[in-house]
């Protein structure tokens, strides 16, 4: 039960950022795991919103897609997709939005569209989904992404979702932008002056040098780095139960 890897640590660290009462827009993958973990541990009253239309979903097991019937069946309300984006996401009612990334640059700009040219790509990625509006309108945006030189790049091939713009100063959206980037190495936060992503926390056993090695630009590092506490036994238990699609413990 006490074994965990860097991906577990990433999900646990993301879960810890959710506060009780937060309205959280949840996507597939790590965000889904993190948000449900938070709800099963320290933030039972955080409110899960899925872009499929489910508001205040209380999934009994980890949903396998954002359109699982369990989400609709346990939600306080289910709304249409246009209403979700117009009246809930776009209107700024989301406290925390989680995003993934195929590529991210030092100013938090995100690519999930293509590697290569948009008209003739080397790799066609899934595309935008709800990310551009979450990036634009959520009060806090948390990016969850494994750190590597392939992902943390000098320049993204395509801007799908805007962070702070090409030079860090172009953001005009109503939300605050990416407030945290949580990786399998640690946590990056935008510099208060320049918005450049800065390493501020390290996961247990990871060094600054390893984080630098996994970054495709000259990584800015905070003067004092916090150590992220390792996953607790409770966090690990619930993480495993979620992955095994078991209901909450107790």
């Amino acid at each position: 039960m006490s074994e965990w890897d860097s991906a577990d640590m990433m999900n646990v660290a993301a879960a810890r950022e959710l506060k009780n009462g937060d309205v959280c827009l949840v996507g597939v993958g790590p965000p889904n795991l993190a948000a449900n973990l938070a709800r099963r541990t320290h933030a039972p009253a955080c409110r899960l919103v899925y872009e499929s239309g489910a508001i205040d979903a209380k999934p009994r097991r980890l949903p396998l897609s954002i359109g699982d019937d369990d989400l609709a069946a346990t939600a306080t309300a289910v709304v249409s997709v246009p209403e979700m984006f117009n009246f809930w996401v776009g209107a700024g009612r989301i406290d925390v939005g989680f995003l993934g990334a195929a590529q991210i640059d030092r100013y938090g700009n995100i690519n999930t569209t293509v590697i290569g040219d948009h008209k003739d790509p080397t790799i066609r990625l899934p595309g935008a989904g709800g990310a551009p509006e979450i990036a634009s309108a959520a009060k806090r945006v948390i990016v969850i992404v494994k750190q590597s030189r392939r992902t943390f790049v000098e320049q993204v091939d395509f801007v799908t979702s805007v962070g702070y713009g090409p030079t860090g100063n172009e953001r005009q959206a109503p939300g605050a932008g990416p407030t945290l980037v949580i990786t399998d190495h640690g946590v990056l936060e935008p510099d208060p002056d320049t918005n450049e992503l800065t390493l501020t926390r390290l996961h247990p056993g990871i060094t600054v040098d390893q984080a630098r090695q996994a970054t495709g630009w000259d990584l800015k590092v905070a003067d004092s780095i916090e150590d992220v506490p390792p996953p607790t036994a409770t966090e690990l238990t619930e993480l495993h139960r979620l992955r095994d699609r078991e209901p909450a413990d107790g």
Binding site: S52, G53, R61, S80, V81
Partner: protein, 307 residues
Amino acid sequence: MPSPTPAHLNPLADAIAEHVHDGDTVALEGFTHLIPFAAAHEIARQGRRHLTLVRMTPDLVYDQLIGLGVADELVFSYGGNPGVGSLHRLRDAVEKHWPHQLAVREHSHAGLANAYVAGAARLPFAVLRGYRGTDLEEQRDIISSVTCPFTGEELAAVKAINPDVTVIHAQLADREGNVMLWGITGVQREAVLAADRAIVTVEEVVDEFPERTGAVILPNWVLSAVCVVPNGAWPSYAAGYSVRDNDFYQRWDAIARDRTAFLTWASENNLPTDNTSPAEDTLSGANASPAESSLTAENDTKEPADV
């Protein structure tokens, strides 16, 4: 505009033959839930070609149609196999032009949802706060901007989408051909109202609709055809009737990864393909598994009731 004639209860093959034509812009909607797979397969079986396919989440349903050579163009907002990975047929068409080149226009979810909303209102565009600073804006023929005449704020504008035909799956029709769906209802209401013609497959016909919070009801006079096709959303699901066949969504990954496996699957399910050799360039054939005859399989993955 839809014909004012009341919808009839029709065989699916007749409805597709009458209302879906080569070259049409076709929207098959259903957000994870209620995806009209049976109607999609009928479109493929009848050999339709040169379609512009519109759908927020192409999902397996468009991965299949694209691989079968049905589409010339795809309009979408998120093209993944949710929780599994890539849509390999979509990628093969875009990256390697197999079975032929696929033109792509893409939105965010908010943009495409609002393009349907504008279409349903018969307005030429919709306004939203989004897209600013993204490269999606480079698609100037579908994404532009307008200035608020009261505040001067610049906002995004998306061009309305009005499909020639929209196809959805729903739980119920009544004897007059009115339709009811519930659970996650996605963008189906807007996609139906935006279309010139609308086809609905339903699980069953009832005398009277039950009370269902969150249900969408579509009167018969905005529908062109209503077809009874039980389990017509498989391997997607219909709340109250079936659960999502998550195993098939997993298995599809192996089928779709490999052109040969895909063609075998198509052949086994009597779905015509273009005469394209799979040999020339297989996307990621290394870990492809043999095709399974999954299309006609029963939904064998019902989960235990959990209420």
